[in-house]
Symmetry: C2
Subunit: 237 residues, 2 copies
């Protein structure tokens, strides 16, 4: 049987150096979610077909994605749920502690500060910032809102290594520049604008309208197929 030392492939230099394609990274997060559900149910082994189905992908694609982690699973036996969970988490960088700051204590920042999906996935919200003197010092999600002016000092004190930018489009670039100047290298932005950053800084953008657009595509197709089956029904009469 081929099983792995858990510390092996994720830490091994032969796999560590190889970048995983962006689409595979995104799918690994989906497998991880499915695996965590299986773990919670006490499932110990899962076949690639079962895991692929739980994640909503084809099993060939799942096997391709998992090949970036090294060699896993045994033909006819499947994957050990716990081992695969640990390996994906390690490769995604989720076994280290991520301390998140939220910049912007408006409605979105407050929603994110209270979002249960962050803490259950190992992201601790360690600081929240705002520029409004009326908001600074108030409490949000159990944290005192800090002044954007004190960004560098507070980020250093709280050990933050990841920032979520939840500010309006018009102030996003300015705050992004301040974050970069304060040494932040990983930014998740909810502002509906493209942010310019120097090399070495990673910005990911969440565009909430994109999902509505994708939903619109499916909704329109559903309407069309309804209309065409109605017209078929009419012409059959």
């Amino acid at each position: 049987m081929t099983t792995h030392d858990p510390s092996g492939p994720a830490a091994g230099p032969e796999t560590r150096g190889r970048a995983i394609p962006p689409a595979s990274v995104a799918r690994l997060t989906i497998y991880l979610r499915a695996l965590n559900s299986l773990l919670a149910e006490g499932v110990e082994r899962v076949s690639s077909e079962e895991l692929a189905e739980a994640a909503g992908v084809k099993s060939a694609m799942l096997r391709k994605d998992l090949s970036y982690l090294g060699s896993y699973g045994t033909r006819g036996v499947g994957y050990e749920v716990q081992l695969l969970t640990r390996t994906i988490a390690a490769r995604l960088g989720l076994t280290q502690e991520w301390r998140v700051a939220i910049v912007g204590a408006g409605n979105l920042g407050r929603a994110l500060a209270g979002y249960s999906g962050f803490t259950t996935r190992g992201f601790e919200v360690a600081a929240i910032f705002d520029a409004d003197p009326a908001v600074i010092g108030s409490e949000v999600g159990g944290l005192k809102v800090s002044a954007v002016m004190d960004l560098e000092k507070v980020l250093a004190r709280t050990g933050v290594n990841m920032v979520v930018l939840a500010v309006p489009a018009r102030s996003a670039q300015e705050l992004c520049d301040e974050l970069v100047a304060a040494g932040v290298r990983s930014i998740l932005s909810f502002a509906p604008v493209v942010l310019q950053v120097p090399p070495g800084v990673e910005v990911r953008k969440v565009d909430m309208a994109t999902e509505l657009q994708i939903l619109a595509y499916h909704a329109q197709r559903a309407q069309e197929s309804e209309q065409s089956s109605q017209s078929r029904a009419r012409s059959a009469r």
Copy 2:
């Protein structure tokens, strides 16, 4: 030169029936955003290489994605920005009016009601609901908060054809069932749970932690390459 009647390909039965793969649908929304920026700058033509670069994809992939819309662009001349914008929008279902209701007037619901990215992309927020008597009747984003109890009545009156679910995980399935019972067929959920719906109902889930996980992968890789260049520097000494 091969140009198209704008009403042509999007409405043509030969393209309409063909489903676009999910990853291509997602990328079409990115091209649309890039094209809208070009339109705003007054650009009339764009090559596949330029558009691919603006969208952050390889030009072969862009051409493949656009092939689902029918035949576009002329070798050596590129795409007409306005025509391609209209064609993608039509195919994504964005030329019809989408009226959105937000269920949940908490921090996230309020943030979404005020999100400028929705209205600029053609999604009009027409109603907002909550179950809390203290919130019902108050004003959020220019709308009076309706009672969840009146869901069916208000959805019919406001002509809503798409719902954003911005409620806590624990009440998401119950509200989802009520929405389906009220005739809603397109739901975008921000609740970090899997929702069960009958066939014919499309649910898309926005998981905000996924983006943080992808960011963690890149952050960890950046740390590793920094560490390995430091250790190379040490051993070179």
